[in-house]
């Protein structure tokens, strides 16, 4: 069966696309799937750093499309998880170095060899975004529960619908329970009501994400932490398992998270 191409995008920058790509990619590979993560953020490459693979890069995606190497040669093997690979972005070029058609061709060339191909999109709605979605079979939109991030997520969802790209799933990142409790943060329900797309995961605000990113060892490598488990739950939902949102952590947490609106 050919692999599935899943693009991770957001509209607004800095909401967690690269973090989600690295961690869901690692979790899928830990579940036994063969996975490639593609850094489509040409000129601002980061996925290699987040995964701790920056000093293993020989070739990048621009070398591939310009014919300086074969696709296989550009793939970097992960050092933690077998069956996880990275196709790095070029750092010294810009988004126009790859066209949407070339990106779709790269995805097509990878599909026969891997179960999942995850594409980390750059922020924005310009060519970098068009490249990132060119080969997508599915799209994960990442947002935080803040007005500007949700606003931009809505724009991206509109563009994806117009381009007939989907299904679209939502990851809600950086939820802070104490702020939700105080009535100072949009709840999961609020964001779902506004964006009206299907939820595939909730990631709490967790400083361990910064610590693990500092080390280049994604938090999903430790599925015993609540946040690591949240990424594994997303991976399991990606592959079609039904994982209730409540298995994330204690039931009280999510009931409060979801229920706030109904009670007020």
């Amino acid at each position: 069966m050919p692999g599935t191409v899943i693009t991770v995008t957001s509209g607004k920058g800095g909401v967690g696309k690269t973090t989600v790509t690295a961690n869901v990619g690692a979790a899928l590979a830990m579940l036994g799937h063969s996975v490639v993560v593609i850094d489509a953020d040409i000129g601002l490459r980061n996925l290699d750093l987040v995964m701790g693979l920056e000093n293993r890069i020989v070739y990048d995606i621009v070398d591939v499309v310009e014919g300086r190497c074969r696709l296989r040669q550009a793939l970097v093997r992960d050092k933690h998880v077998a069956e996880l690979h990275l196709l790095p972005a070029a750092q010294t070029r810009d988004k126009t170095a790859v066209s949407p058609r070339q990106m779709a061709e790269v995805c097509d060339a990878l599909r026969p060899h891997f179960d999942y191909i995850l594409v980390d999109s750059p922020a924005g709605i310009e060519q970098g975004f068009q490249n990132a979605i060119a080969g997508a079979d599915r799209v994960i939109v990442v947002t935080t529960p803040e007005v500007s991030a949700v606003h931009d997520a809505d724009r991206i969802i509109g563009l994806l619908e117009a381009a007939e790209r989907g299904p679209i799933h939502l990851v809600l990142n950086r939820i802070k329970l104490d702020m939700v409790r105080r009535g100072d943060m949009l709840t999961v329900d609020d964001v779902l009501h506004i964006l009206a797309v299907e939820l595939i995961g909730i990631i709490p605000e967790d400083e361990q994400i910064i610590v693990t990113t500092n080390r280049g060892t994604p938090i999903a490598l430790n599925p015993n932490s609540a946040t690591g488990r949240a990424f594994h739950d997303i991976a399991r939902r990606v592959r079609g398992e039904h994982v209730p949102m409540t298995s994330l952590r204690d039931r009280g947490f999510l009931e409060r998270l979801f229920g706030f609106m109904r009670s007020s």
Binding site: D184, D190, I194
Partner: protein, 84 residues
């Protein structure tokens, strides 16, 4: 957010304000429908309908709602009953 304050009878939380503002701005983003356009629509609908039927102008309610990702314009137009 005076509207929220009146509705709730208290100071709205920042979460409530955020939700209200987002819903408001997204209606415009998604459809191009602004409060000004809504007022114009109301006037023109009244003018057209009045030519044919007797409507209760004060009872007219023109509102925008969201159903999934579909935005709907809902017009509620009470008709006056005919005098005997």
């Amino acid at each position: 957010m005076d509207f929220l304050r009146r509705l709730l009878g208290r100071e709205p939380s920042s979460r409530e304000v955020a939700k209200e503002r987002l819903q408001f701005v997204l209606i415009y983003d998604r459809t191009g429908l602004s409060p000004g356009v809504l007022d114009t629509l109301r006037e023109e609908i009244v003018a057209v309908l009045s030519r044919h039927i007797d409507i209760d102008r004060d009872g007219i309610d023109l509102s925008v709602t969201q159903e999934g990702r579909q935005t709907k314009l809902i017009a509620n137009i009470p008709l006056r009953s005919r005098r005997p």
